[in-house]
Each structure stands twice: as C-alpha cells, then as structure tokens.
C-alpha cells in the first residue's frame, strides 16, 4: 500500500511538472488543465489546513469540549491510566471565543442588500486594526533604515569603507532627486543628479533582473533533481531488480 501510494504520488508529481512546463513549447490543454488543478488543490489545502491546524484545535475543540482529557492532561499521566477528566471542568469562558467568530462571519452579509451594513462594520474594524498595525510596523521597519542612511563620508583608516559610503550617499541623493517631481529638473546640478539617478535605477533594475533569472533557474533545478532522484527511479523500482 505504502509503495503503491509513493509510486502514484511521485508519478503524479512528475506528470504535473511536465504539464506545467509544456507551456514552454506552446499553450496547450494539458497545461491549462493542470494549472486549474493546481489552483484548486492549493485552495483546498489552505482550507483544510486552516480547519485542521487552527479552527479545530484552537477554537472548536475547546469550545465544544471535545477530547478535553487528552487536550489538557499530561500524556504520561494518561499513559498511567489516570482519569483527570473530572479535574478539568469545562471552562464556560471559552464561549467568549464565539463573539469574534460571529463578528467575523458578519463579513458574509456583504452579498445581502439588506444586511450588508454589518459587513461594512467588519471591514471598518479590519481597516482600523490594519492601519494601526501598519503604522507601528512602518516605524519599526523604516526608522532604522533612515538612521543608517546617515553615513560618515570619511572613515578613518578605511579607504574601502569611505568609498562605499560616498557611493551610497551619492546614489541616495541622485535617486531621491530623480523622484522630486515638485520642480523642473532643468537647473544645473539638479539635471545631472536626476539623470544619474535614472541611470543608477537602471543598474539596480538590472541587478533585480539578474537575480530573478537566478531564482527561476533554481526552481527548475529543484524540479530536475526531483526527476533524477525520484521520478525515474520510481519506474526502476516498478520494473523490479
């Protein structure tokens, strides 16, 4: 059973990969079918994982008091035959979990013309806390970067660091100048800085593009290795010794 299961899962993995890569040859129904299959599986997996890993153990199981003895009793005591079920009375406060659940479910009223105001309340709440988190997150993320952008142009006893800092500062100033749209870039000094900023941006885009190619190659390597180490040997195992 296990061998058959492994064979079919690995086999299907290879067929799916070939189907997706068949797009490189040309657009075809084989590719299209597996693309839809992938989207469906990814969505289904997400829902099941959410239910199995979060909603069931963290919400439904405690609220419904299902399997409370295994949830709360140390396994070694269970192994010794201890029955601590009565020692763990149902916590009625857990029912408060249902309040945010019901509130969140209000989002689904968005399809109702009569009750969609409830969805708007939920959305307002989401926007409110999202905005608050983003505000806090912005400062935590960007303030250290702004601070670190103030670099000494001359680093004693280190020509390399000094050069790095000069290049960094010049790049920062030129690129920021390019993105100043409040005035014309026709003044001497401003024009050169703006043009340099555009060139420096182009260089950085080149770096991004090169890195993107490297990433895509890496993904292909992983699939090739799958074929070499799992897919083809799978057939060899089927053929037997």
């Amino acid at each position: 059973m296990t061998d058959a299961w492994t064979f079919y899962t690995v086999f299907l993995g290879g067929v799916s990969t070939l189907a997706i890569y068949s797009f490189l040859y040309r657009e075809n129904p084989f590719y299209r079918a597996f693309e839809h299959l992938y989207i469906g599986i990814a969505t289904g997996l997400g829902m099941v994982t959410l239910l199995e890993r979060w909603l069931w153990p963290k919400l439904l199981k405690p609220v419904l008091n299902v399997g409370a003895e295994t949830y709360a009793t140390p396994p070694q005591l269970v192994a010794q035959g201890a029955d601590l079920t009565s020692a763990m009375p149902y916590n009625r406060w857990l029912l408060l979990y249902l309040v945010p659940v019901i509130f969140g479910l209000g989002y689904y009223t968005i399809t109702s013309a009569r009750y969609n105001w409830i969805a708007r309340v939920v959305i307002s709440f989401t926007l409110g806390y999202g905005g608050g988190l983003a505000f806090k997150g912005f400062f935590a993320e960007f303030i250290p970067q702004v601070v670190s952008s103030f670099k000494p142009l001359v680093v004693p006893n280190s020509l390399a660091d000094s050069l790095n800092h000069v290049v960094f500062t010049a790049t920062l100033v030129c690129v920021m100048t390019y993105f100043f749209f409040s005035f014309e870039h026709d003044k001497p000094g401003i024009r050169q800085a703006s043009t340099s900023g555009r060139w420096l941006l182009m260089i950085s885009f080149g770096a991004f593009f090169g890195a993107t190619i490297m990433a895509r190659m890496s993904l292909l390597i992983e699939r090739l290795q799958f074929f070499i180490e799992q897919w083809f040997p799978n057939f060899q195992r089927l053929a037997g010794p």
């Binding site: 490189l24 979060w54 935590a140 670190s148 991004f208 890496s218 390597i221 992983e222």
Partner: protein
C-alpha cells in the same frame, strides 16, 4: 553574407527558435546534477555573517532559536537548502529550535526537514561512536502553521507565556510538555530568529513585530535570489545580522559547517549540486546574451550598409 536559402547569418541568428534556447539551458542545468562533481563555493560575506551569528550563540543557556519557514513548494529550491544548513548548524551546536510558518504550504516541510537532518546526524554519530541521538522534543519542536500572521507574530512578541500563547504543537502535544520548550517564557528566551521566505511581505512582518521595546533577537534571513538586492537594505541597517543570498549562500554556509569534511568533489551536498547547475546555466545564458548582441550588431551593420550610410558597400 547570404547563405543557402537566401537568409543571412545574422537573420538566422535573430530567428533562433526560443525552444532551442530552453533546450540549451535545460542541458546546462541537468548535466551537473547527473554527475557527482562539485566545486568549492565562492566566499560569501553575507553567509559568513549568518554563520558567525549562529556560531556566536551561547549553547545550553536554555534559550532557543525560532525558525520561521515561510516557504512552500514554489520557493523550495532555494529556501530548503538554506533552512537545512541552519538546522544542521543548530543541531550540531545543541541549540534547540522550533519551526513555525505563516504559510500553510510549509506544513509538510516543517515535519520532514528536521527529521531528515536529525537522521543524517544520528547516522554520523553512530559511525563515530557518539552516543547522542537527536530527537523531537529534545532538540526541536514543530509549532506548525498559524494563520493571521501579523497578529500572531505581534502577540508572540508581547506575551509573557509563550507556551500558553502557542497552545499545542503541530502534533497536538501541549507545548508546555515539550522538554525543549519548557524553559521558554517570553520572546527574550529566543536568542535567534532565522526566517526563510520567498513570499512578498512575510519577512517584513518579522522585522516589524518580532521584538519588544527593549529586546530584539539576533536575526538572520534566507531569501530567494529575486529579493537579494532588497534584503541588503536590512543588512546595511543592521536589522538582520546575516543573509543567505539564494542557494549560493546555503552552499557556502554548508562549507563553513562541514569544515574539513566538506567534499564537493565526489560527495557534493544538495546546495553544492544546485550551485554547480546554476553556475553552468549562468555561463550558457551569458553566452546566449553575447550571441544575441552579436546578432543585433550584425543586423544593425547590415541595415546601415543597405541604406548606404556607411560600412562596406
């Protein structure tokens, strides 16, 4: 210069079927994988920084490492070797760690990857006559996937009772009963945060929220090649203390861990094999870029000659 069929060399060059290019790249990627030949990876300063950060962590002080495996099949090629080498390093140093993810697609890897690393190290210990065995619960635990990433991470950083906050691990065992997690109370008990991802925004969540007003754990980051230029901003501002630049960073880190045992010629590991393929593919792509530009140059020269504006008549 016309050739049989009436098409010039540069015309043929500019009309090469793109599928032929794919075939060249495919061959360049496959050949190194089929051979057991590898080369020593180039020195990477950023991976060295990551290594030094992990190497500098005190072992046996009751603190843990938090491994955020925010990746799935789509970026497995780069993030898996990165995660694997950090796990190996932590295990060798006997620093317990827990795996966690804000993406559900990481679920199977959070289970299988530490098991694989532990099995390899246990085999090595047996061969060397070392009695120590790496086990779940003692050396690592798997928290699993949790939704609502931002809220969860923020809550984790603020809680005074990490075990109570997390509840149960991926196997359903209460975290309080997992030996390696028992000394953990707050975020201060995590000496290291290692985050691996190719997802947009995932890394930023950890930068923004996995800290308190007076405590920020050491932070190393494994990114996919696409986001390397962006990740340098965080390295420059010292928000992270080490970086894996795609699979290349993992290959060099692997060399640092293994030291004298690192044998790329004959026994290349996963990351080194990947690097060989990648390097050869890059050479092919560079060659193709040169060929393409030569074709363009010949075409432009021919057009100029045709217009009679210069060049050879």
């Amino acid at each position: 210069m016309s050739e049989p069929g009436g098409r010039t060399f540069h015309e043929r060059l500019m009309k090469v079927d793109r599928r032929l290019v794919y075939l060249f790249v495919l061959l360049a990627l496959t050949v190194p994988l089929l051979s057991d030949f590898g080369m020593h990876p180039a020195r990477m300063e950023t991976a060295q920084m990551a290594f030094d950060t992990v190497e500098g962590l005190p072992a046996g002080d009751g603190k843990m490492a938090w491994l955020a495996m925010d990746w799935g099949p789509s970026t497995r090629a780069e993030n898996e070797p990165q995660t694997q080498v950090v796990m190996e390093h932590l295990m060798r140093r006997r620093i317990p760690f827990c795996t966690f993810s804000i993406t559900y697609q990481a679920e199977p890897f959070m289970n299988s990857l530490p098991e694989k690393v532990a099995a390899d190290l246990n085999r090595e210990n047996e061969a060397q006559g070392v009695a120590y065995r790496y086990e779940y619960g003692k050396d690592w635990c798997n928290i699993g996937y949790r939704p609502a990433a931002t809220l969860f991470v923020r809550g984790l950083a603020k809680t005074k009772d990490v075990a109570g906050y997390i509840g149960v691990d991926a196997r359903g065992t209460p975290v309080r009963e997992i030996p390696c997690m028992s000394p953990v109370r707050t975020v201060r008990d995590f000496s290291l945060l290692a985050e691996f991802t190719g997802l947009v925004g995932a890394f930023q969540i950890w930068v923004q929220f996995f800290q308190t007003e007076d405590y920020v754990p050491k932070f190393i980051h494994g990114c996919t090649s696409i986001t390397i230029p962006e990740a340098f901003i965080y390295l420059d501002s010292k928000q992270i203390q080490g970086l894996f630049e795609g699979v290349a960073g993992a290959a060099y880190y692997s060399k640092l861990i293994k030291g004298d045992r690192f044998d790329p010629v004959g026994h290349p590991d996963l990351a080194t094999k990947f690097m060989m393929s990648l390097s050869l593919a890059h050479l092919v792509i560079l060659g193709l870029i040169v060929v393409g530009n030569v074709g363009l140059w010949l075409q432009a020269r021919a057009a100029k000659a045709k217009r009679g504006e210069g060049g050879r008549p």
